[in-house]
Amino acid sequence: MAEFLQLLIIGLSQGCVYGLIAMGFVMIYKATEMVNFAQGDIMMVGTFVAFTFIVTWGFNFWLGLLAAMAVMAVFGFLVDAIVVRRIIGQPQFSIVILTISLGFIFRAVAGMIWGQAPLSLDTPFVGTSNMGGAVIGHDRLAIMGGTVVVVTLIFLFLRYSRWGIAMQAASQNQLAAFYVGIPVKLVYSGVWGLAAAISCVAGVLLAPITLIGPLNGFLGIKAFAAAVIGGFGSLPGALIGGLIIGIAEPFAAAYLPEVKNIIGYLIMFAVLMLRPEGLFATIYQKKV
């Protein structure tokens, strides 16, 4: 029982990170119909920026996190405003190729600035608690708590704030949104900024567990699997897909070690075969 609980907590916390990254690009997808294959790498850059603020420049952890989020929001905004916006209206594959190449550039540049050696970022969440025989690190609890906070804030933002409602409108129909006076371009770049800030939080929360390195961006691929499982285009689906993969991984590592690295993708292929539109479908195939 204790082992089960232990694995569950590890899985839930890992899954929260996948879910947060997945939410970032589902947001971008919903709003702009572009899939950002660089989301994992943006997370990686965000973690390095937070590292610079907190470790190199000695900021307080919370201040450093906020500063890194602000920097990443600007970064995401500029990526859209300078590069990605030029490609709107081109076929889908241009966007896929563009964003995946951006990811490779970010990885190379991050490697040049911060080096390839793994760095560690200390968070205030140290120590462990004993819960029903399971030993649970506070860093894992922090991930779960942080995810709940971030998800609640996003929900409130999209539901009640002026900008959030503008984002929803632009995502439903960009032309109609433009007609009623919403600055669609600005909103799109804003969505990119918001998604980058969210993945920055995910990266910082994950930092005590996986150390920081330029290859952390590959986590984004697992987040894609999460989004597919949840149903591309559904925010709660992305989070739940992330949790499913996150929980499956430690259990696979414990009971089926041969597939521990690929279990997430196997689940994704199973979902594609049984229910291709995902668990929380919002996109349906267009019937003609």
Partner: protein
């Protein structure tokens, strides 16, 4: 400028539109067949590498350039082709049987990915192929009895009808003949109903479906064909590098293949060939560049993929039709001099909202 009078419907699907095509392509063919006679072994080897890349790129072109589905996992098909071929050779299967079996295996595995993923929009195929590449790499590492795992696997030189091929120029001809056959196959498919459906699916899935094209079936067949050609390239690549290890077929190779077809020119057979030559040049210039740059930057392991990414971004934004597209524009400029208009090649922007319900 040559004006063609169409007197026959079959003219539309002819390989050679006019005598100029016959002349120049015959010249090219003669040049590639005579190349080993004038080049030394080093250059013949380099040329062989380029031809194998061209074959793999041609495979990717079928699915990405002609059908519009980006695959980020084509290195995995090369891996499947290479390992299947090498494994069959160790089991005593002759070269001429083991190579087609390797291509077929790669195709069947491709089907297993494409069938579930094609029921949804193109994006799913991209994500599925990316995930698939990681799964294949993991399988290669763990299935040690067949692949040798991380220790790698030595590939024996090929033997045709009991005659062992050791010389570089002999292998060059094997690769060249197979590449020409693959190009002929792709060109033929392109002028068949399947090829036309692929182009229609690329341009708009919704309108293709309205015209009665079975979109999912077209995508699956394109993926099958593509995986087979790439698997064949993998089998040939196995002999070329003579030693297989899991890192050879990582995500970098997938990106390299993608870079090849984008830089060469998406949506044309020429693009795959041009791209392979350009990537050969690029690799050579990057290795020169590495010596010139300060060591802090030059020795970065991420430098090469980063540069690939940068070139891809620049091409996608400024010349999405690649080098071949640029050449076509230049040729049109010369042919129609002084009447060239830039808008001739202006692409109609199609806004994205059309392919989604809400």
């Amino acid at each position: 400028m040559r004006v063609l009078f169409k007197t026959d419907y079959n003219q539309d699907i002819k390989f050679a539109k006019h005598s100029g095509y016959v002349f120049w392509y015959a010249l090219l063919l003669a040049a590639v067949f005579l190349a080993p006679a004038v080049l030394d072994t080093y250059w013949v080897n380099e040329l062989t590498r380029v031809l194998i890349y061209a074959l793999a790129g041609l495979g990717l072109m079928v699915v990405t350039g002609f059908t519009g589905q980006v695959s980020l996992g084509h290195a995995a098909f090369m891996a499947i082709g290479a390992y299947t071929h090498a494994f069959l050779l160790t089991q005593g299967v002759p070269f001429i049987f083991s190579l087609p079996i390797a291509a077929l295996t790669s195709g069947v595995v491709g089907l297993m990915i494409a069938i579930p993923a094609s029921r949804m929009t193109g994006l799913y195929l991209t994500i599925a192929s990316l995930a698939f590449a990681i799964v294949v790499e993991d399988v290669v590492i763990h299935w040690e009895s067949v692949t040798g795992g991380n220790r790698g696997m030595v590939v024996d030189p090929p033997a045709l009808f009991g005659y062992e091929i050791f010389e570089a120029w002999e292998y060059y001809y094997v690769v060249l003949v197979l590449l020409i056959m693959a190009i002929a196959l792709v060109l033929n498919i392109l002028r068949s109903p399947l090829g036309r459906s692929m182009l229609a699916v690329r341009d708009s899935e919704v309108s293709a479906q309205s015209l009665g094209i079975r979109v999912a079936r077209t995508k699956v067949l394109a993926f099958l064909l593509s995986a087979m050609i790439t698997g064949l390239a993998g089998g040939l690549f196995a002999h070329f590098i003579q030693f297989l290890s899991p890192e050879t077929f990582g995500i970098l190779l997938s990106i390299q293949l993608l870079l090849m077809i984008v830089v060469g020119g998406l949506g044309t057979v020429h693009g795959a060939i041009f791209g392979a030559f350009l990537i050969g040049l690029l690799e050579a210039s990057i290795s020169i560049l590495k010596d010139l740059l300060p060591p802090a930057i030059g020795t970065q392991p991420g430098l090469e993929p980063g540069l690939f990414g940068l070139i891809l971004v620049l091409f996608i934004i400024f010349e999405p039709e690649g080098v071949y597209g640029r050449w076509v524009k230049f040729r049109t400029f010369l042919e129609s001099f002084p009447f060239y208009r830039r808008n001739t090649f202006k692409r109609q922007r199609s806004y994205l909202k059309t392919e989604r319900m809400r």
